[in-house]
């Protein structure tokens, strides 16, 4: 190969930055930005995906850039793990860039050229995070990613909540970055050398590995949206324009997962089994929390944001299980679990971007985000509706599509746990499996609500009649992502062949025998133990459906008569009689009562215009964030006493310091 892949990746990053800066040259010119720059960004994304796909099974390549600090220049490294995530970034990024080509209009917020600049700096920073090989480069890329995405989140900065969401997002991202910096500080173990290679060589003693792990979990968890630090996600993702929230939900959360994998599996050798248990518990509680809250949302983008929290929870639970297996030195089981984790990350990138982009098109057609004012869009926006259906089925984990495959692999991994010596863990894991299955089932509930309320039924508002379908670029991007979901679901064996080298890198030893031998059948350990072939299942279902359709239509005449809906004979039917978003979420609110802080507004009996509204709030605001804010406030008030205003008081400070120091010196 003439040109080494790493320099191609660097070229892609530079290309993105160049596209971004050309956007700045003529910020107001929308045609140039959307017709030339965004498609160019998409092409660079595809090229990056191709290079990453190609270089996944090549040996790791590293390089040093002259930039950075004099004695710590930027080290870059392209190994299997970063190649896989670059593939994810390129593939999903390309689609989203293509969608944004048709999406951005010259709204009164930030000019399109500036958005294009921030967007491409965001992509470049994410790619840079994935190839960074020393603490300084990683931190620079990490926080530049947070900064670029912050500016994107507040594109419509006129609205106060969006500014608040932007601030909350950057604050928690910054706190996460501080935790990551501390983790790197611990990982360098006193050698003072902050390159990842030296961190790999360092063997930490005593309690240091545990502190490093939990700092990394906190830091990357803050960016991924793990439980205590998830508050910003449902605020920031909906606030951003749809392509940006797709990029943040689909790809940026995966950089946090990449970081966690890089620190736990690559940089640290010793893994304690109870780390896995903690990560498993944290992941599952995040998943359950996310999906339960997604079920009661009334804003479609908040619903998808909470569902991202759920998927991230499942991924982190998978990582916890992988740590558990690695701690008990079971390479094959770790390989299966890691395959499930990486596969789900890729799947989530595809179907979540598809759903967010679909909401983007809906938002553009109706400029309405709350579920209560949508409905019946399948008739006016067929392309968007049917492709959103593909995304919904994938997100709900329905067999032929990709959501089911990664869930199937993860459940298989859960089934192998009885072979662990620790009896306590053997007890715990069935419960973990139950929680995982419950959150997957609830995901189906949420997705049915999302699709049903938005696209099906009758339009709840009269102006929905004017909704137009998505434009050419947007439609093509949605088709690309839909095809991705189907292919990922139907051809798992080839995808797992891609993931194989990543496992060998992370686990160290070559897994005894490949997870998927023949191309048709996915059989993790042995064929008779458990196997699943999505292609055959899809073929059989489609075959049976076609067969019945032909038989029914030929044998029995296919005459159809259209009439008003039967509805048990009730004559009066208005669109308002359909289930609202709150209504569809009511059973969940009923069953999972303790999860929420419910604020109900009930109309009084003589209320001329009775309005009934119920809002489910997050308990973490009151339990965790407000006390911290109040604590900081009171501490600040205490500090404020120093600056009392009287000059004699200031002189006394100076005098006392002098006397104290003199006394101390003598």
């Amino acid at each position: 190969m003439t040109v080494p892949p790493l320099s191609l990746v660097i070229a892609a990053i530079v290309a993105w930055l160049a596209i971004g800066t050309t956007g700045l040259v003529r910020p107001r010119n929308l045609r140039f930005v959307s017709r030339a720059l965004f498609p160019a960004g998409a092409i660079v994304g595809l090229a990056l995906a191709a290079v990453a796909g190609y270089s996944i099974d090549l040996p790791p390549a590293s390089a040093v850039l002259p930039l950075g600090l004099p004695d710590l220049p930027f080290h870059l490294r392209l190994d299997a793990l970063s190649a896989f995530f670059l593939l994810l970034l390129g593939a999903a990024g390309a689609a989203i860039s293509l969608f944004s080509a048709g999406y951005f209009r010259s709204s009164e917020g930030t000019p399109p050229g500036v958005i294009c600049f921030q967007y491409h700096v965001f992509l470049a920073a994410m790619a840079f995070v994935l190839v960074a090989d020393d603490a300084y480069a990683f931190m620079v890329a990490w926080e530049s990613m947070a900064l670029a995405s912050f500016f994107l989140v507040i594109t419509e900065h006129r609205i106060a909540e969006i500014r608040r969401a932007g601030f909350l997002y950057l604050l928690i991202a910054h706190i996460g970055a501080i935790a990551i910096l501390l983790a790197f500080g611990v990982l360098q173990g006193g050698t003072g050398d902050y390159t990842f290679d030296s961190m790999r060589a360092v063997i930490l003693q005593g309690a240091w590995p545990t502190t490093a792990f939990f700092l990394a979990l906190a830091g990357f968890g803050a960016k991924a949206g793990l439980l205590p630090l998830h508050i910003w996600l449902p605020e920031a993702h909906p606030a951003a324009p749809s392509p940006v929230s797709a990029l943040m939900s689909g790809v940026m959360l995966k950089t946090a997962i990449y970081g966690l994998l890089r620190v736990t599996f690559d940089l640290m050798h010793a893994q304690l089994w109870w780390w896995g248990v903690v990560a498993l518990a944290l992941g599952l509680s995040t998943a359950l929390f996310g999906v339960v809250f997604a079920a009661v949302q009334t804003d479609m983008k908040r619903l998808l944001a909470y569902s991202s929290i759920e998927n991230i929870g499942i991924i982190v639970a998978g990582i916890g299980l992988a740590i558990l297996f690695k701690a008990y030195d079971k390479p094959l089981l770790t390989a299966v679990t890691l395959t499930a984790v990486l596969y789900h990350a890729l799947n989530h990138a595809f179907f979540k971007s598809l759903l967010f982009l679909a909401t983007g098109s809906v938002l553009h057609a109706t400029n309405e985000r709350s579920l209560g004012k949508l409905g019946g869009l399948i008739h006016r926006m067929p392309w968007v509706a049917w492709l959103a259906l593909v995304g919904t089925l994938a997100a709900a984990g329905i067999p032929p599509l990709n959501g089911f495959v990664s869930e199937w692999l993860l459940l298989q991994a859960f089934l192998f746990t009885p072979s662990l010596p620790q009896s306590f863990v053997n007890m715990l894991v069935p419960l973990a499996a139950a929680a995982l299955v419950l959150s997957a089932a609830l995901a189906a509930y949420v997705m049915v609500k999302f699709f049903g309320v938005v696209f099906l039924g009758r339009p709840r508002e009269p102006n929905l009649a004017y909704a137009r379908d998505a434009g050419r670029f947007e439609r093509f991007a949605l088709i690309y992502l839909g095809a991705g979901c189907v292919l990922l679901g139907v051809l798992p064996v080839n995808v797992i062949a891609l993931i194989e080298p990543v496992n060998t890198l992370l686990i160290g030893t070559r897994a005894s025998q490949p997870i998927a031998d023949n191309w048709l059948l996915l059989a993790p350990i042995s064929a008779d133990r458990s196997s699943y072939s999505p292609l055959i299942v899809l073929a059989v279902i489609v075959g049976v459906v076609m067969l019945t359709m032909r038989v029914v239509h030929r044998l029995y005449h296919g005459r159809v008569r259209h009439a008003p809906a039967w509805d048990c004979g009730f004559p009066l039917q208005t669109p308002r009689m359909q289930d609202t978003a709150e209504g569809f979420g009511q059973p969940i609110r009923q069953i999972f009562e303790p999860f929420f802080l419910i604020e109900r507004h009930l109309p009084s009996p003589f209320d001329p215009a009775p309005r009934y509204s119920v809002k489910a709030h997050d308990r973490f605001w009151g339990a965790l964030y407000l006390p911290i804010a109040r604590g900081a406030e009171s501490l600040a008030r205490l500090a404020g006493l120093i600056q009392r205003g009287r000059i004699s008081v200031y002189l006394t400070y100076s005098f006392c310091t002098l006397l104290a120091l003199l006394f101390f010196v003598r």
């Binding site: 002259p66 930039l67 950075g68 600090l69 004099p70 004695d71 603490a135 300084y136 931190m139 620079v140 890329a141 990490w142 926080e143 530049s144 900064l147 507040i154 900065h157 006129r158 106060a160 500014r163 932007g166 601030f167 950057l170 604050l171 910054h174 706190i175 501080i178 910096l181 501390l182 500080g185 611990v186 360098q188 006193g190 003072g192 902050y194 900081a632 406030e633 501490l635 600040a636 008030r637 205490l638 500090a639 404020g640 120093i642 600056q643 000059i647 200031y650 002189l651 400070y653 100076s654 006392c656 310091t657 002098l658 120091l661 003199l662 010196v665």
Partner: protein, 483 residues
């Protein structure tokens, strides 16, 4: 030798000329011209020092080594850009009727004199002259702080004068003790106060006298640096004076004071052989960072907010110098450069923002980006730079300082990080609504002078990503020198 004369001569000449014709319309242009000449001379001096190494001239009265030459260059550069900014700023202030021509005359001449005193303080080899220059710098800026004659500016100026006067007096006592200790070894006459002489003989100096001298010097010059228990004058002085003065005070004078403290620390370090001096600076530095970050969240006035941010950053630098060692000193010097560049850029944008909305209260300044995009983006990027967001240089130096702190003094790292987190939360929550959102600010009569702001931020961005090799060796030499 000529360069040093030029570097000092031009501002003095400028002060005289401006005192004479300060009334006329083109006084700001003259001010810029003299600042430019000073900058050119400083660059020439820097090149000279790079090429031929440290300079000891005029019968050992002036000493230029790698440590103070980059500060001289920085001071001259920021002086020039501030002069450029003050031309537009002062014209708008004049049209608003807040300043008469007479006061402008005082302003311009004092500005040049202030530049001169700072350059003298940096270049002199004599500790006594260093003290005199610091005192003169205080006196020149006292009048500038009270330029607007409002009750608040008077109060700020009075406190500034009394507190800094008392502080500087302690420093004089410290210098006397230093002289006293040195006189036994170097004999009477001028030699005992020359830093180079003291530096050669510092190991034999009397430890007890030196430690007491360092206490007085640290408290003295520490007041000028704004270390916490002695910082009370700083927020008032920086907030009440005209913006160019605040920019120069925050950007340059604090650096010069810290330079003086570090000069003394080098001497005391040599004689004491224990880490007493360094521990003292560590303590003051950490205290400043934590207290300043706490006070940030209570601010209502935008310039007071960034004055407290200066206290916090001076605390970081003192902490870094306190840790000592090549990497920490390197980081501290880098932090000095990027902090003065970023802080002065922020004060420029804040000045114009205050003029546009007619008030310094943050709640009344809204939506700068929509009113004038350059101003809004300048302030947003400047604030993110000062808060240590990565692409900018402040992150590079803070990264190095944190990294050495984790390595050498792990107990201090958590305090540091919590303080940085608090500062980020406080400053950003106040600046974000100012920059974004629906606009309330009016239009500026003249286009804001954004050239200096974006030059500064560009330099800081460059330093964040790539430090030019010659600058890196500069810092390394100085770091080794400081020890």
């Amino acid at each position: 030798m000529i360069e040093i004369l030029a570097v000092l001569g031009f501002p003095l000449a400028g002060a005289a000329v401006l005192a004479a014709l300060g009334e006329r319309r083109q006084a700001p242009a003259v001010n810029i011209a003299f600042s430019f000449l000073t900058f050119a001379a400083a660059v020439a001096l820097t090149v000279r020092v790079i090429v031929s190494g440290p300079l000891l001239v005029a019968d050992r009265q002036f000493f230029v080594d790698s440590f103070n030459v980059f500060l001289v260059a920085l001071t001259a550069f920021v002086g020039l850009t501030t002069a450029i900014f003050s031309r537009t700023y002062m014209r708008i202030e004049q049209e608003k009727g807040r300043l008469t021509l007479g006061r402008l005359r005082l302003y311009h001449s004092m500005y040049q004199l202030f530049n001169c005193t700072m350059l003298v303080a940096l270049l002199t080899n004599n500790m006594g002259i260093l003290w005199v220059a610091m005192e003169a710098a205080t006196l020149t800026t006292v009048l500038l702080v009270s330029l607007y004659r409002t009750p608040a500016s008077l109060e700020a100026a009075w406190k500034y004068f009394i507190l800094c006067g008392v502080g500087i007096a302690q420093a004089l006592f410290g210098t006397i003790l230093l002289y006293f200790a040195a006189e036994k070894l170097l004999g009477g006459g001028g030699g005992a106060l020359l830093w180079t002489e003291l530096d050669d003989v510092k190991t034999q100096l009397e430890p007890t006298v030196l430690s007491i001298a360092f206490v007085f010097l640290l408290v003295g010059y520490g007041t000028k640096v704004g270390l916490v228990p002695l910082h009370n004058w700083l927020p008032d002085a920086h907030a009440e004076g005209p913006t160019p003065v605040s920019a120069v005070l925050s950007g340059l004078l604090l650096n010069v004071a810290l330079y003086a403290v570090v000069r003394c620390k080098v001497l005391v370090e040599g004689s004491l052989h224990n880490s007493f001096a360094r521990d003292l600076m560590l303590g003051f530095g950490l205290l400043s960072v934590v207290t300043a970050s706490l006070l940030l969240s209570r601010q209502k006035d935008v310039k007071r907010l960034f004055a407290y941010s200066s206290i916090e950053h001076m605390g970081i630098m003192t902490f870094a110098f306190g840790m000592g060692g090549a990497v920490a000193n390197f980081a501290a010097l880098l932090h000095m450069t990027v902090h003065s560049l970023t802080k002065s850029a922020i004060f420029f944008t804040v000045g114009h923002a205050a003029q546009a909305s007619g008030t310094q209260i943050m709640d009344d300044i809204r939506g700068l980006v929509t009113a004038s995009p350059m101003l809004g983006w300048g302030l947003a990027l400047g604030t993110l730079a000062i808060l240590g967001m990565p692409p900018f240089g402040v992150f590079a130096s803070e990264f190095l300082i944190l990294v050495t702190a984790i390595g050498e003094r792990p107990w201090a790292a958590p305090f540091f990080l919590v303080a940085l987190g608090l500062a980020f939360a406080a400053v950003f929550s106040k600046v974000l609504p100012m920059v974004f959102g629906a606009t309330t600010g009016g239009r500026l009569p003249h286009p804001p002078a954004m050239f200096p702001v974006f030059v500064h931020l560009g330099l800081v961005l460059l330093l964040g990503l790539w430090i030019p090799p010659f600058l890196a060796d500069w810092y390394r030499q100085a770091a080794r020198l400081i020890g």
